[in-house]
């Protein structure tokens, strides 16, 4: 079954491969910084397109296909990849040829995807990556024999060091060497059934047979309309009654073929002595040391987020304050000045300030991912996560959310299962992030002015615990109801440890940072203006004091309007203003309360603010901030969304407004219920 098709000049390439085969490293080695990341129109699937030059300087494009073990479609992302490779997506041309990256040290399983891609009848080039690792493990690959058997060029390379990249380019630039290769022999009855199914599906399509072959072995056909679905099911039934399992027979045929060609092309020498990777694993997944290592690594990441990132955050804060002052100096006083300085600059600054945390977190996550440790972390934590129906991979995003939900939500991309990813995104903001600290600090100071550090830390810990328990509880609930689905199989590969490539890690970090700034930034920019307007209009005369002006604004009016709703929580309309103003960012609550109580330049440690809040009395002459109100308010902030940046990033990551709106709704309800239980429950028990 060998065909030789020549391509006149290939320009559009796609790159495919298993996870952990070094595909991203090769993609970066070829394209450098010339990458464009966006979404396929109309779907949440990310499209990464790079540009590079061939051996003779000719421009070429490279489409990065998501890392996968199989061409069998199991998720919408994989459906998009399939459609691109079949040339069925109008927005992306069918590639002229496919670069298949394989890990030379793990050839058999890596060749499985190659075997399937060869069946697509497109020219293929095999990038035999990590030959250095294979050689170190005593595996020698006979490249000519492999080329002979596969019928396509095989380029030995080490993408990390750039070895072999020029050889690869030489093949890509030479149309004579790009050809359609051999395929695994299938049972004649299977071939016949594929042909007759292709006739039914679309006799005129050039890819009908390839498509039919893909469909016939697919167990779940939900995405298909009738009658196509019925035709495929009939084909499957006929094969089954002929004693041929359509789901397993082709897989077995491919592996038989691979085993045969590996027997000729792969030579193993030396005994299978324990590699460095094996030795590392005996420590890193050890019953005791595994936990120690895991906890230390997570502690290091956390420590860095809070300490290393703190300095640039300070600088950003200073810079934006200076920028706002400069704007005030340049623009004449008035609405426009206020819009620019207090609305836009302050609003955008309040978001950009998270950038250092995102960079630090993604740098560390990149190191952990690239080194192979991330899979071990998931391996260690899977037992805990599976209790609430989640995958071990959900652990890191949730942990990251203790620092900030934004990088946590962006880190959910490693979760393949769509429903699991959505559940993780939905609950991630319940983990108490660093932006809640100012609110906690203020309320704890009001609650326990004379409290010891231990008592204060105790309350803080309780708040973190409430958030964590709520996150896991809601995850369990969502998995049982809204996003019900079979618990996906774990099937997690534990790749050999390797030194991370700093360039790849940095590039990925910058990629995430850019997405955060550009995509989230636009939404945040618009919402900052809206919130500024709510807190500014309608205006009082310029000489009115800021507290009255705020009370008179839309935000103030909304504070009054929601008073009946928040009364059962023990709040007055002034707290209502704080809640509304901090809808965009929780920490704004502190500054807003300062304005409401007519104090200047306060933060959560300002004694004047703490004293003023403590001395507030309601119309009935009783204190407003009773212990129950303080505790209830903290619980409210533990559970409420109150973060525009998170809303924007959830919108971006789920590609719809449905999820962020649902998330705001459920979290606000949860927060209300939590605060209500604390306040009313506490009163029933006789507390104040």
């Amino acid at each position: 079954m060998k065909t030789s098709v020549r391509v006149s000049s290939a320009r559009n390439f796609a790159i495919a491969g298993n996870p952990n085969c070094g595909k991203s490293t090769l993609f970066n080695a070829l394209t450098g910084l010339r990458q464009k990341i966006g979404n396929y129109p109309g779907v949440t699937v990310e499209r990464k397109l790079g540009e590079f030059r061939g051996l003779h300087g000719e421009p070429m494009t490279l489409l990065d296909l998501p890392g996968t073990y199989s061409m069998q479609v199991r998720s919408p992302d994989e459906a998009v990849s399939r459609d691109v490779l079949l040339g069925k997506r109008k927005d992306t041309p069918r590639p002229d040829a496919i670069i298949c990256v394989v890990d030379a040290s793990n050839l058999e399983r890596n060749l499985y995807l190659v075997a399937q891609i060869l069946e697509l009848e497109l020219p293929v080039v095999v990038a035999l990556n990590m030959v250095d690792v294979a050689e170190a493990a005593g595996i020698r690959i006979d490249v000519p024999a492999l080329e002979q058997a596969l019928g396509v060029p095989v380029i030995p390379m080490v993408a990390r060091t750039g070895r072999g990249v020029v050889d690869l380019k030489a093949v890509l630039s030479d149309p004579a060497r790009l050809k359609v290769g051999a395929t695994a022999p299938m049972d004649p009855a299977f071939e016949r059934e594929i042909r007759s199914l292709a006739e039914n599906l679309d006799p005129n399509s050039p890819v009908a047979k390839i498509e039919a072959a893909l469909w016939i072995s697919q167990p779940v056909l939900d995405e298909l309309p009738e009658p196509q679905r019925m035709w495929i099911e009939q084909s499957q039934t006929r094969l089954k009654s002929a004693g041929l399992d359509p789901f397993s027979a082709p897989v077995e045929a491919r592996y038989d073929w691979i085993q045969e060609l590996c027997a000729d092309a792969v030579h193993r020498s030396g005994s299978e002595s324990a590699s460095v990777s094996d030795k590392l694993d005996t420590v890193l997944t050890h019953r005791l040391w595994g936990w120690v290592a895991f906890a230390s690594m997570m502690a290091l990441v956390f420590f860095s987020i809070f300490t290393v990132a703190a300095y640039p955050m300070e600088w950003i804060d200073t810079a934006f304050n200076a920028l706002a002052d400069a704007a005030r100096a340049v623009i004449p006083a008035g609405d426009f000045q206020s819009l620019v300085a207090d609305g836009i600059i302050a609003g955008v600054g309040g978001v950009v300030i998270f950038l250092p945390q995102i960079l630090v977190l993604f740098f560390f996550l990149g190191l952990l991912e690239d080194s192979g440790y991330m899979a071990r972390a998931a391996f260690i934590m899977d037992r805990v996560m599976s209790r609430v129906g989640l995958h071990g991979k959900s652990f890191i995003p949730l942990l990251s959310s203790f620092a900030c939900a934004i990088p946590g939500i962006m880190a959910t991309r490693t979760i393949e299962n769509r429903k699991d990813r959505q559940v993780t995104i939905l609950v991630a903001p319940l983990m108490s992030c660093s932006a809640r600290l100012p609110v906690y600090a203020l309320m704890i100071a009001v609650l326990l002015p004379m409290g010891s550090a231990l008592e204060k830390a105790g309350i803080l810990l309780v708040m973190y615990a409430i958030g964590t328990v709520a996150a896991f509880g809601m995850a369990w609930l969502f998995k049982k109801t809204l996003l019900r689905g079979d618990t996906p199989m774990l099937l997690l590969e534990l790749p050999p440890y390797k030194m991370p490539v700093v360039g790849t890690v940095t590039l990925r970090m910058l990629e995430r940072a850019k997405i955060f700034l550009v995509r989230a930034g636009t939404v945040i920019f618009a919402l900052s203006i809206l919130l500024w307007a709510l807190a500014t209009y309608p205006k009082l005369p310029a000489d009115a004091n800021p507290a009255d002006a705020l009370a008179n604004s839309f935000a103030g009016q909304m504070g009054h309007a929601i008073e009946p709703i928040i009364r059962p929580l023990g709040y007055d309309w002034k707290i209502g203003i704080g809640l509304i103003a901090s809808f965009a960012a929780r920490e704004v609550f502190v500054g807003t309360m300062g304005i409401v109580y007519n104090l200047e330049d306060v933060d959560e440690t300002s004694q004047s603010l703490i004293d003023t809040i403590r001395s507030q009395v309601g119309p009935d002459g009783l204190p407003v901030f009773t212990p129950l109100v303080c505790l209830g308010l903290m619980v409210f902030y533990v559970l409420a969304m109150q973060c525009i940046s998170t809303v924007a990033i959830v919108r971006r990551e789920t590609n719809s407004w449905r999820w962020p709106i649902f998330q705001i709704a459920y979290m606000t309800l949860l927060a209300y219920a939590g605060a209500l239980i604390v306040y009313q429950g506490g009163r029933l028990l006789g507390f104040q």
């Binding site: 073990y69 199989s70 069998q72 199991r74 040290s105 793990n106 058999e108 399983r109 499985y112 072995s217 167990p219 779940v220 789901f247 397993s248 897989v251 077995e252 592996y255 694993d281 005996t282 997944t285 050890h286 019953r287 005791l288 595994g290 936990w291 899979a375 391996f379 260690i380 899977d382 037992r383 805990v384 599976s386 071990g392 199989m489 774990l490 099937l491 997690l492 590969e493 534990l494 790749p495 050999p496």
Partner: protein, 81 residues
């Protein structure tokens, strides 16, 4: 000479044990995923270790390391020789 062939579930195997897959009984989609990862009837499996909490387990198949939950391993029948 008599060969001792013991059949058991992969989930009952201890670290250090190895055997060949005899059958896999689960839903079609999951079974296909396992097959595609290289776990075919007749494939050799070495049990390497259990996670610190006792689940999931780590196995070696076709020269690479894979982890799967005990609930999944409980559907794979092994022949230890």
């Amino acid at each position: 000479m008599m060969t001792l062939i013991a059949a058991k579930l992969l989930s009952d195997c201890k670290p250090g044990e190895s055997g060949k897959i005899r059958s896999m009984e689960m839903d079609t989609a999951s079974r296909q995923r396992l097959l595609e990862m290289g776990l075919l009837v007749g494939s050799r499996i070495d049990v390497i270790r259990l996670a610190p909490l006792g689940d999931p387990m780590e196995i070696k198949v076709r020269g690479y390391l894979l982890s799967l939950r005990k609930s999944e391993a409980g559907m794979i029948h092994i022949e230890t020789v």
